[in-house]
């Protein structure tokens, strides 16, 4: 399939870069630009915090959308609460705690990293390395067999 070594090289490293890019993609989606006027902020820093916070909180009605993206009535209510609290100067941590106290940790789009969620965080990486290991071993094994046959 590969006639030239550099094809294999490009493919390998290209895939790796794509995977890394997916992993590093930030949680907040900035698509809902119409919201800018509905939530005025005096400071750009506070607006950025508001967008980041609501982007990392789950809409409990449309559960794969963030509070930033969703138009469900509950999301509108919770966005307004986050807006008021950011305006009043509450910290990100305090706002998250406020919502987690009422809705549980499920409202956080990124699970908290603690003992009960270690597996949740670590298993995907383990699976990735494990399968990469198997693929590398398999390719190596096949190469060895092909060379042996061609002797």
């Amino acid at each position: 399939m590969f006639y030239y070594p550099h094809q294999c090289f490009v493919l390998k490293w290209g895939i790796l870069l794509i995977c890394l890019g997916c992993l590093l993609h930030p949680g907040a989606a900035m698509g809902n630009h119409a919201l800018h006027s509905a939530y005025p902020f005096a400071s750009a820093k506070k607006r950025a915090r508001f967008e980041n916070l609501t982007g990392n909180l789950r809409c409990l009605v449309c559960q794969n959308e963030s509070l930033w993206d969703s138009n469900a009535p509950l999301a509108v209510d919770l966005r307004r609460i986050v807006y008021q609290q950011v305006k009043q100067g509450a910290t990100d941590q305090a706002i998250k705690q406020y919502l987690v106290a009422r809705y549980g940790e499920f409202i956080l789009l990124q699970p908290v990293f603690k003992t009960t969620t270690y597996l949740l965080w670590i298993v995907p990486f383990c699976l990735l390395f494990f399968s990469m290991g198997i693929v590398i071993w398999w390719v190596h094994h096949n190469k060895a067999r092909t060379f042996a046959k061609s002797d």
């Binding site: 009605v61 009535p73 209510d77 919770l78 009422r102 809705y103 549980g104």
Partner: protein, 177 residues
């Protein structure tokens, strides 16, 4: 023996994964566990839907209560209403309503038309009390004990079997404490 395991290992992994997928898919994503179990009802002061004095968290003290969250825009609530009327007739527990993000006039008219099973109804037009109670939809039903502590939350319509098998046992449990 070693080579046999290598052949069946992907199949075993697949069966394992399908088992977990099946369990996850059959869950109702809107039945979320309440973060308020075993915590006191938050302090509040809301209008009574039917007029009169405002209602506060003190309404739950001294007896086991059922707080039912409903709205006229919630179709499921309308379908479960006859069951609620039935429960109210038996009068075995304090039965309160929380009118959630609704129009008070519409709600009063609706109750006049279909009957009022609630001893008192808290009006939460803005939904702010709902946020404090962790409400994510309607209908939801809370069981609150004599000290005003939330002991159970049921998400979904209350049918006769839900009442008999799920809610009534919880009520009896906390009434006997």
């Amino acid at each position: 023996m070693k080579w046999k395991l290598r052949i069946y290992l992907p199949l075993l992994c697949l069966v394992g994964l399908l088992f977990f997928f099946g369990k996850a898919i059959s869950r109702d994503p809107h039945k979320l566990p309440s973060a308020l179990i075993n915590r006191a009802v938050p302090r509040f002061s809301q209008p009574d839907l039917l007029g009169g004095q405002r209602i506060t968290q003190a309404i739950f003290k001294g007896h086991v209560s059922v707080l039912h969250v409903w709205a006229t825009w919630c179709i499921t609530c309308q379908r479960e209403h006859p069951v609620l009327m039935d429960i109210a007739r038996k009068q075995s527990v304090a039965f309160y309503g929380l009118n959630y993000k609704d129009n008070p006039h519409k709600s009063r008219d609706w109750l006049k038309m279909y009957g009022n099973p609630y001893q008192r109804i808290i009006s939460d037009q803005t939904g702010r009390l709902g946020v404090d109670l962790g409400i994510s939809g309607t209908p939801e039903t809370f069981i609150i004990d004599q000290r005003g502590i939330i002991r159970y939350k049921y998400t979904g319509p209350v049918s006769l079997s839900v009442w008999q098998d799920v809610l009534a046992p919880q009520i009896r449990k906390w009434q006997s404490r």
